[in-house]
Amino acid sequence: MNRGCVGLGVAVVALAVCGIAHAQQGVSATVTMQAQPTVAQVGDVIRLEVQAQVSGSTNVQVELPELSAFDVMSRQVSTPMQFRFGFGNQAQTIQSTTVHRLTLRARQPGTFALGPATALVDGRPFRSNSVTIQVGGAAAPDPDPSAQPPPSAADPTGFDPTAFVRTVVDTPSPYVGQQVTVTVYLYSRQPQINGLNVTQEPTTEGFWVHDLLPPQRTLEAQQQTVNGLSFQVFVLRRFAAFPLRSGPLTVGGTGVTMSSSGIFDIFAPPSAPLSRVGAPITVDVRELPDANRPPGVPHVGTLELSATLDPTQAATGDAVQLTVTARGTGMLRQLTLPDPAAPGLRVLTPEVSDQVTSPRDLVGGARTFRWLIVPEREGTYTLGPFAVPVLDPRTGTYGVARAEALRLTSAGNPVGSATPDPEPGPSLRADERALTLGPIRTRSALARSHAPLVEATWVRWAFALGPMTLLVGLAVLAARRRAQRGPARGPRQASRDARRRLSSARGHADAGRAREFYGAIAQALKEVLEAKLTRAVGSLTHAELRRSLVGRGLAEGLADRVVDELEGCDFARFSAAGVRSEEMQQCLDRARGLLDELERFVPREEVAS
């Protein structure tokens, strides 16, 4: 029996585990977190959304990341659900989505890593991504706007045990220009407020006002006990009011209408909307203290001044930009600075831009003045210093916010409406008064040498490259022509050789050597012919030689005489009649004449047959 009970228990546990595992296998979830924007300034609104999409279970609990670095202005949770029905053998699938939307406000500068958010689905954790938010700007001082003392029974703020509106200021006796933070609360004991409308805005005559709450927000209630009763307290309005004059100034009452319902209202007709109007509140604005008051219109709050000039040197007629920036807290939009002025400077109307922030409900930011300044005369100008008296409202003491003077130098001819120089002193000559030069150069390469390029060695070699190329070309051409001509000599050389051969032939004639004589004559003529025709003629018959000579442009008569002389020399070499010296002399004379005529012969280009 005991064994059976133990076995049954084990089986039950096993089945349960299997069932759970089986069930968990069917559960899935995707959790995402995103923030917009992820880069902000102190006081800016950031929207954070955590979305958990769960499949297979409706038991979802979302744990948000640590948000202590931010003020949670509002929170909204929505859970749309989707059902999918299975048909036949398919199991039913349930999908659900839970979305948490939060409105945060950056409280302090820094880099904050949020997350991950966790969704517990049937006890199983599913984590989201992490989000990093960078917050810039300066941390504001730390008033706690939410801490308010409860009203006493004698408080003339219109206490109503059902609901009432109350206006609170943080400074009942401010200085002129000092920030007064005004908050309008709705105290309600209604069980559930369905609709809430502000029907009457508070009047703020005599104040310059800046809203401190974002335009779109969700009202969140805080619990507070007043006169023994527990109320839900809603912040209807919060704004910074800067009194513009001294004396009593009133913030008017705020009117609101709300409708509400209770759990039992389904059995009763709906109740009429409830209206309430808050009581106005008056602040006693003080004049600024006179003790140690610096000259000028003081700024109430904190202030720092900085000034830049770009560029610091310019030619006359060229504009430069002077920028003065005032940063701090208070009513910066009312801050004015006098235009810089100096003889010889033309100062244009400044461009003013404002950047208003309200970190921790303290209005401040930056106000920037930009002047375009045109120096119309040469010289050195001092712009500034810039100073603004500042009253610290907490201590009631004065200080001075200061930016040091800046120096502008200009050079060049007078331009525009520049007044002429004052009467020249006696030392100035007429030519000096009339001399006008352009501005001097403020930048220079300060080159150390100026060697002309033409003196560089490589340049000279580069110039020689052209003629050298031509010479090389000529040499190549000559070599090519020589190669085409072959071993034959040039006509002139051949002519000279022929003359020498004729001279040697004369020697043969004197010695009576007829064979050698006629051989020399024929050789001389043939060498000249070969040089002219640029071909060997020894293999040609006399008829062919004649045709070749005529074909290359030689006169027919001369060609005939040349051929006849060659034939005569061939015949005479072996003939005894040629032994007579007179005949050899005549032959020599004829050969000389032929050479003279052949030297003047310029053959035509050989036509390919």
């Binding site: 100026h450 052209g466 190329t469 031509l470 090389v472 070309g473």
Partner: protein, 257 residues
């Protein structure tokens, strides 16, 4: 080892040499002096740069402006001429030079009732003055290669049309090369008889010889262009147009280049 230690101790004991101003600081100091109308101080700073070997058209321009403000127009002309030689086509320097010459003329006219001012550059310089020698060098180089290259190709070309084109290129290139070469010669001063210079003093005497006792041949006006043809000790033999040639004290005339 002892010697090394002694040397180290000695080196450490020696006062650190004063760091000289950089060229940029001297330049800025000169500019600052100019801006506050201390033209003499500005001149000193700019001349310090010249003594350090700076050959820069901007320094020359600023020095010319400072000298002009001091009324030393001859020196102003010298430095503006130098700025133009270093950077041809510098309109500001050209304009400033014209202004100073006009001021010279007014001064001379005020003193003597009439004046003649050397207002125009030589013809060659007027023709080629706006082009730097380096540009002319590059141009001449390119034209040389073009002309000779075309001529060389002409030797080997066979087609008549190609030979015609190459011939034209060679001839045109040669013509342009001639003009460019002439310009280069003018800008480089190869055709000058001597060094271009400027007379620095009004009525600077021109003498027969390099001696104060030599007879005077004439006087050269301040700002007048001249040519230095010879040097001997502290004297310069100069040729001054419309005055003649003679010897002038070195302090009265300075070369532009």
């Amino acid at each position: 080892m002892k010697r090394l230690a002694a040397a180290l101790v000695l080196a450490a004991a020696l006062p650190a040499p004063a760091c000289a101003d950089s060229l940029g600081e001297i330049f800025e100091r000169g500019n600052a002096a100019y801006f506050r109308a201390d033209y003499e101080g500005a001149t000193q700073s700019y001349e310090e740069l010249l003594a350090a070997g700076v050959v820069d058209p901007d320094v020359s321009y600023n020095l010319g402006a400072a000298e002009a403000k001091r009324g030393r127009y001859g020196r102003a002309v010298l430095h503006f001429e130098r700025a133009l030689w270093l950077r041809p086509g510098d309109d500001d320097a050209r304009q400033a030079l014209d202004e100073v010459r006009a001021a010279l003329g007014r001064r001379r006219a005020a003193a003597r009732g009439e004046a003649e001012v050397d207002a125009g550059p030589p013809f060659g310089e007027a023709l080629f003055g706006s082009v730097s020698p380096d540009v002319l060098t590059v141009l001449a180089l390119v034209l040389t290669l073009l002309a000779f290259g075309a001529g060389t190709a002409l030797l080997f070309a066979r087609r008549e049309s190609v030979r015609l084109g190459l011939g034209v290129v060679a001839v045109v290139g040669a013509a342009l090369l001639t003009v460019t070469g002439l310009g280069l010669a003018v800008r480089s001063g190869w055709l000058d008889e001597g060094e271009p210079a400027v007379v620095l003093r009004e009525r600077a005497p021109l003498r027969e010889g390099p001696d104060t006792r030599a007879a005077e041949r004439g006087h050269a006006p301040e700002g007048q262009r001249a040519t230095i043809v010879d040097r001997e000790r502290d004297w310069r033999r100069v040729h001054v147009p419309s005055v003649g040639e003679g010897w002038m004290a070195a302090e009265d005339v300075a070369p532009v280049r």
